[in-house]
Amino acid sequence: MQGGRALTPKRLVLLAGLLAIGIAAPLVLPGYQLQLTELLLFMVFALAWDLVGGQMGYNSFGNVLFVGLGMYASAIVQVGLFYDVGLYNEARGGGTDFVFDASQFLSGLALGIPAAVLVSALAAWLLGSLVLTMRGHYFAICTLGLGIAAGQVAAGIPWIGAGSGMLTPNPPESLGDETLLLYYLALGLAIACALSFAWLLSARFGLALNAIRDDEDKAEAMGLRTHAVKVTAWVIAAGFLGAAGAIYGNLVRFIDPTQTAFAGATIGVWMILMALLGGKGTLLGPIVGAVVFQITKELFWTYLLGWQRVGLGLLIILVAVFFPSGIVGFVRERSAAKGRAGEQSP
């Protein structure tokens, strides 16, 4: 469905309210800054997955590839601007040899995030040209393989720390709490992502994505440049995933090639789960899904420690069985059914 609707005053008030909450949240809940930042990044993960997986119907299991590439690209730029990356990783980034002052740390981030966007988008363009000619299960399996392979490749490159991983630059004391900075970066990214997707989906591009989802051969026979549309969508998604990965790496501060960067079993699956939970193929769905997911995840990890994976597994089953169209899809179907019932009654 197309998401483009006019900005009514009511909507503007709602958006302003959400923005105020977004700005105030880490100040009101200082104990949850980390989780809130993670939530904003999860929103970007879910939104970006849904652009290709939901709107376009290409179920990618390897989007974590772009998260990881962004993570490494940013960390390498952040370190490489001031030190030799190989030596830094050999020394495990520690000691007094590798110190970053406030301006170094900030300029590193300022260049690292755009670099992450570029690297991920470029990778999506190169890989997409090949991978996006596959469909259905073949595409899903191929992307899954890409994500796993990337982790193994990264674990074999000593220059970026190989299997021992890479530390992001240590934030200087003078900067105060760097989590707050990362939170606002994530907030800006999430807003940019949601707004640009809203715009894309209200333009013909959104319809082109949906047309490919519904009947790609028909779309091609109608003269739509389906391949260019598919690659473009993947590149856009990858750009946002790369930026989110860059921030995420700095948030957790340690990039393990298979457990953080190319973590197919966690982030890779979570981003899909969040989109499904909220309702795939909608703009609001992935956002709602990320909120619900992050809350349940934190609750499970706090109260069900040891059983948290079982809890998450149950959540997946419950969504698949009872809310196959997700929370937003479920609510919309309900209101549509109510609307029909209303028409019929005299």
Binding site: R204, F205, L207, A208, N210, A219, R225, V229, G281
Partner: protein, 247 residues
Amino acid sequence: MTMLLEAVEVTKAFGGVVANERISLAVPQGAIVGLIGPNGSGKTTLFNAITGAHAIDAGAIRFKGKDISRLLTGDIARAGIIRTYQQPRVYGGLTARENMRISASIRRAPFIRLFTRPRGDVEAYMDELLDFVGLAEKMDARAGDLSFGQQKLLELAMALANEPEMLLMDEPTAGINPVLIDGVIDRLKAARAELGLTLLIIEHNMPVIMDLAEHIYCLAHGKLLAEGPPGEIQSDARVLEAYLGAA
């Protein structure tokens, strides 16, 4: 008269079954040409060959004098040939109106145009087309929820919205309310007269095709059986035999 579309000795076999055997036909610019024949005679196979859904084994297909038999579906569509299907194909998850929006002359538009919204006058024309095929009240219904006949009409409206130079239609009146069939015929004739549209139509409904087409090709068992103006075809002994069996 210049030929817009020419098929020259087109041959296509699936394993041992020769679905099209050395079929030649020509469609002049601005004409309405019919393609008839019993089920399984190779009509849709020929459509698939023309639109690039599958490669041909031998022969040539020329559009505006250029060979298109090696081009891919999308390139053929962008060259100006659009088709509709026997089983209608619409974008099921989109509303009827959204189906129209994404069909509106996309084949000629530069890629960047996808990042804009349709203009107001285009929107008005889309609504007018939907209104014409009797789907004005279904504009906001999911295309996938429409009936077979309604999907067929929507597909026709989408094809017209695309503004092709040549339209290949696979049984346009099958499953359509008889009351609407006359309207469809009139609209196709009007599209030819006003937009210069050239039509090649597969049809089983004889009164319809005899009314519409100026020239008819009849296939049987993958071969060209007869061709000529509707009057001749109607009384051609070979055609009658192919349809009704030997007397």
